[in-house]
């Protein structure tokens, strides 16, 4: 009895492999993608709470550069993280198109609501695990734990982020995204 659900699950996975190209596939996870410095990143759409325009924040003293501050989200205090600065990318001025994606992050201390500042929201893709390739090993000096995987969609590369890993812990390691990009491009 106990084996039959597993078998069923295997079958489902097989089906999803066949229907790889189809969007809105039931077995695939949906990802919201956004643009940052001409690269497209994706986060699990189930962790996205809402998308807002940029508004001014209250800065937190003595916090890392990428923590812009906190905002009032209908009575809840929500920290805002600049993902460009978090990834060590070049800063840009915030404009009317600058977008804050409010995410639900699973951390050791329960669910947290956090916002990330990105250049623009792009698209929603349905991607299955089979599409995904592990991030290449970039050596000891680059932490890739927060990269869920890399996916090719329409000859573009998507970087899928594990936001729980990225934002869930209190101690935020330095990340050098240009280095990762360079090396992953080489890998392609």
């Amino acid at each position: 009895m106990s084996a039959s659900p597993n078998n069923l699950g295997d079958q489902d996975n097989n089906v999803s492999e066949v229907d790889l190209t189809l969007k809105d596939n039931d077995e695939a996870d949906q990802y919201l993608t956004f643009i940052m410095a001409d690269e497209e990143y994706g986060v699990d759409i189930l962790s996205v709470q809402e998308i807002r325009g940029w508004e001014s924040v209250t800065p937190i003293p003595n916090s890392p550069m990428h923590v812009k501050g906190v905002i009032n989200l209908r009575g809840t205090i929500v920290p805002i993280i600049d993902l460009r600065q978090r990834f060590g990318l070049e800063n840009i001025e915030y404009g009317p198109l600058t977008v804050v994606i409010v995410l639900k992050v699973e951390s050791e201390k329960g669910e947290r609501i956090m916002g990330i500042v990105v250049d623009a929201v792009s698209d929603v893709y349905a991607l299955s695990n089979q599409d995904m390739r592990d991030a290449p090993d970039l050596g000891d000096h680059v932490d890739t734990a927060y990269i869920k995987g890399l996916v090719n969609v329409d000859s573009k590369m998507l970087i899928l982020l594990d936001i729980d890993e990225l934002l869930g812990s209190d101690s935020i390691p330095e990340i050098n995204m240009p280095a990762i990009k360079e090396m992953s491009h080489e890998a392609h």
Partner: protein
Amino acid sequence: MSIDLSQFHQIFYEESFEGLEAMESCLLDLDTDSVDSETINTIFRAAHSIKGSSGTFGFTEITEFTHVLETLLDQIREGSRQLTQAHVDLLLQSVDCLRGMLSHLQAGEPAESDVAKSLIDSFNAILNGEETAASEPDDDQSNAATVIDDQPTVSTDNRAEKTEYVIRFKPELGMLRTGNEPTRMFRELAELGEMDVTCDIEKVPSFDQLSPEDCHVSWEINLSTEKEMSDIQEVFEWVEDDAVIEIDMVAGLFIDPPTDAAEQVSQAPQEELVIEASSESDKKAAKPAAKPKASTKTQESTSIRVGTDKIDSLVNLVGELVITQSMLGQLGTDFDLSKLAKLQEGLAQLEHNTRELQESVMRIRMLPISFTFSRFPRMVRDLSRQLGKQVDLKLMGEQTELDKTVMEKIGDPMVHLVRNSLDHGLETPEERIDAGKPETGIVTLNAYHQGGNIVIEIIDDGRGLDRDKIRVKAIENGLITESDHLSDDQVYDLIFQPGFSTADAVTDVSGRGVGMDVVRRNIQELNGSVEVHSEPGLGSTFTIRLPLTLAILDGQLISVGVQTYIIPLVSIVESLQVDTSLINHVAGGCDVFRLRDEYIPIIKLWEVFGIEPASKDISDSLLVVLEVGSSKVALVVDDLLGQQQVVIKSMESNYKKIEGISGATILGDGTVSLILDITDLVYMAGIHHQQSRISHLKAVDDHRAA
């Protein structure tokens, strides 16, 4: 028909704990020389309710235990047994034991009954050992037992003389709604003796006007029993307020002629019906209270008993709010400038409503501090025996209300302080007589409101703190140096330092050297403060100051550069513009300024937080003098903006603890403002280790002035 009784368990526990508390406080009030029958009755009633409801829920261990307890109480109540101190002690132990058993049951464990067994044995020893003195212990036992036993056992015992009673029982319309069940009472009456019931159904309205919740019938009962009048009254104990009850004793063995058959018939089916409908709930009716209460779904969640008046005022306020809202809504549908005055009026009303609603909601969380105070009489009683001291505990201001969360957290620090007062503060009776003081020491717990704070004082009239001893000890521990000249209060304050204890011997009660620092830390975590004042030979006073609630804070808005921060108003001593000539730079990187006779270290907020201020020149800025513990610091800010109550929001829930910040709040314009954590700030500014040097400076200065 089965009702899930477990949904009532939580209520049972709450009520039982309350009952135990009542028993405990009454037991402590008892004076063995002149027993107040009302107090005994209260204890008996509490025990009886616990027994009744535990029987209902099938907690037999508790039922059995309370049964023996009740038997003893019953004899004392009847006057057939003289109350002794040994009884009181045993009863108090039983209260503890019951509390333990209930806690076990609440946690889903079987009630641990080793202690209970030995206590039951002690009870039985008392009951049996003096059996001759007890009038009718067996009868009492059976009488008490039948209350939980649903089997109506009609007494056929004729050895005692029977008395005939006529009982007229006229319930008011609403009696059934309070959870009282006439059938249950009749059943209990039937156990007392032979009984004849006549039912008066004259007042029952025609069927179309009949409300099943109302009680239209009244009864006349002829009862022949050898029991006392008081036994009959006890049956009606819970309905006294809801019914007219007349009990007359009829002389002789005269028995009323059999009542009209027709009436009996009409009464019988009704009674049956009621039994049918409530065979389950009538057990529950054995419980005295049918008060409204917050129901709790899980065992872990805590509940709070709220007075109906508070709920009523809330409902009223919400009603007003709805009216204001509809008025404003109507105004908005076709608004033109001519209605501006009306709009402003409406908005003012809205503001008024909101504020009142907020206050009202906060009041719901407020409980009288007697909930915390109530544990002390017992503790003081036990401790004073253990220590061989005579102590009189006085409680004042028990009705002072404070937030439930604050109350839960202040209990332990207070226990510690009271233990300390008893152990270290008060002298032994001999010492007291030698000092020319009455033998009995007095410990006073006093609570009152002062501004937005609650002040709790723990006062003893003992020997006071020993200044020299504390000083020597502090030098030993390296807290101060030989050359430090400290004021009395500064010396006394040292007892709150970690690892400080002057107790000559470590006792079971206190003196392990952990404690006072923990007390202070716990109180500071509640945004409160504790200080001690002492007079040698006259006693000491510990004063705890606490905010009434943890959810709202009186704040002072300040600005530094473009940022607005909030300082808790309680910690602000004064704000002033300062003359640069009064500012000195102490080697080691700390600026101090002289305020009257004190040197106060300066913290530049812009420096600590790394932000750009409007001006770095102190003469352009304001100094806000803050009190941290017993010392003072001055914070440099650009401007003072205003004072307002702010709702505290946690930063940790979505981010993490930020050094120097205790929380955040949302201002009127919707922006977030951070609340400063003063203790943290002092630490961040690195001033803490310089404190002793500063106080030293101050002391030298005092010295010069003198």
